[in-house]
Symmetry: C2
Subunit: 232 residues, 2 copies
DNA sequence: CGTTTTATTGACACGTGTCAAGGGTGGTGG
DNA sequence: CCACCACCCTTGACACGTGTCAATAAAACG
């Protein structure tokens, strides 16, 4: 990627929102590139946070693993999202492991460069707070869901969240434009793939959605999902 | 509170960590005071975020309420903690409702004053990221817990978290220095007060902790709690 | 094509929520 | 100062959602 390509990636990222050209240029010039292949781990939970990444394209799943090997998906990341930046700024170990779910490309900065960048361009600090704040809010919402709602409702809410983040209109409805296995939905929803399978099977019967296996899910009746997600 | 009293409150707050005297003075001078009585709501979830608060003393519980009236306790706040600041900086509605669990005192700033304060003293932006980041990490941990662990284990982890935040050594062990009803523990743990009651009763039998009713909980065998929290 | 991964489906058990009834404790007001 | 009233806690019985276990089937991959 040349500098211009990098800059156009950066200017689409919320972290660089309302940044001036100088800032973008400075950031683009100090970045390095790391291509990622499906299933690659960009770093591992618990490692010292030496680099801060920005996903240029591709999709990444953010995993948190328990000592006994169980896994929870914190969230999915798309182009423009930051990876590991909060840990870098806090000088703490990475709290989770990002795994590529498809091939992609990242830009990255060393902890020192990132800190200098933010010091030199205060708008980036503001944006970092905005981003961290919105993740915080989303997690609060998920915590409340997991704490108070039945599995069916949580699965509906989870699918709708994916749609909000990354949904694409297609003729039959809305599509989630990347592969989501039942197991991954289970880890996003805090349940088992068995229950997910049963639930999705029922919804497919009802014609709410379609998309077997590795194909992308298509929600044909989003309003029904909303109803399920909001039902008393 | 006079300016000196305010400054000594501020300098104990992580949000003002490594701030110079000018910053503290500036912040202390531009703050207003709001005393809070037990059960007072400082603001309500969903309201426009016009003020950012700092708890000078007292204890506050941060509630998130669902549309159907169920409640989840996001966390407890103590002296030095910020309240509503992230919402103010993001110019979004407050995502939760802080309720005083005992009488206390807050300092507060209007959204505009707070923004000016941070713009004038960049170290505050860094600290805000640090704080938001640590809350984010704690929520990730709780989400993982609720998603993967049995109730007993979660209750143990929750009590230990209170101890970490606010525990006091006493002769019999460690004390959680504020009133925690079974119902509140239930809302912190994502379960019902019935299950909490049964679990604590069993632990009292075992001599792990003591403290009936409204008295403060005293953990007499913290190591046992740790074992329970970490058991496979 | 075989091998591996992922999904489907059924049977069953178990944790935990729900419902219900009573007992204590602290606070309040007469 | 005592009696009453909230409110909180305790305990039991029971039901139900959902995880666990198991066996099969269907895709995906090399």
């Amino acid at each position: 990627m040349d500098i211009d390509a990098r800059m156009s990636v950066l200017e689409r990222s919320p972290f660089f929102a309302s940044a001036d050209r100088d800032t973008l240029k400075h950031a683009a010039e100090t970045a390095s590139e790391l291509p990622i292949a499906k299933e690659d781990q960009i770093f591992r939970q618990g490692e010292e946070a030496s680099y801060s990444y920005l996903l240029a394209w591709g999709r990444v799943r953010l995993d948190q693993t328990t000592s006994d090997g169980r896994n929870v998906v914190i969230r999915y990341l798309g182009p423009g999202d930051l990876i590991g930046t909060v840990a870098v700024l806090r000088r703490k170990p990475y709290p989770a492991t990002p795994v590529a779910v498809e091939d992609g490309m990242t830009l990255f900065w060393s902890a020192e460069k990132k800190a200098m960048l933010i010091a030199a361009h205060p708008v980036l600090a503001t944006n970092a707070i905005e981003l961290t704040g919105s993740r915080l809010e989303e997690l609060q919402e998920r915590l409340r869901e997991v704490a108070t709602q039945r599995v069916e409702r949580r699965i509906a809410a989870t699918l709708l969240r994916q749609v909000r983040h990354a949904g694409r209109r297609v003729e039959e409805g809305v599509e989630i434009p990347f592969t989501l296995t039942r197991g991954e939905i289970a880890e996003l929803t805090a349940t088992t793939l068995h229950t997910v399978s049963r639930t999705l099977a029922a919804w497919e019967q009802e014609g709410i959605l379609s998309g077997k296996r590795a194909s992308h899910l298509v929600i044909t009746k989003p309003h029904r999902l909303v109803e399920i997600a909001e039902q008393e």
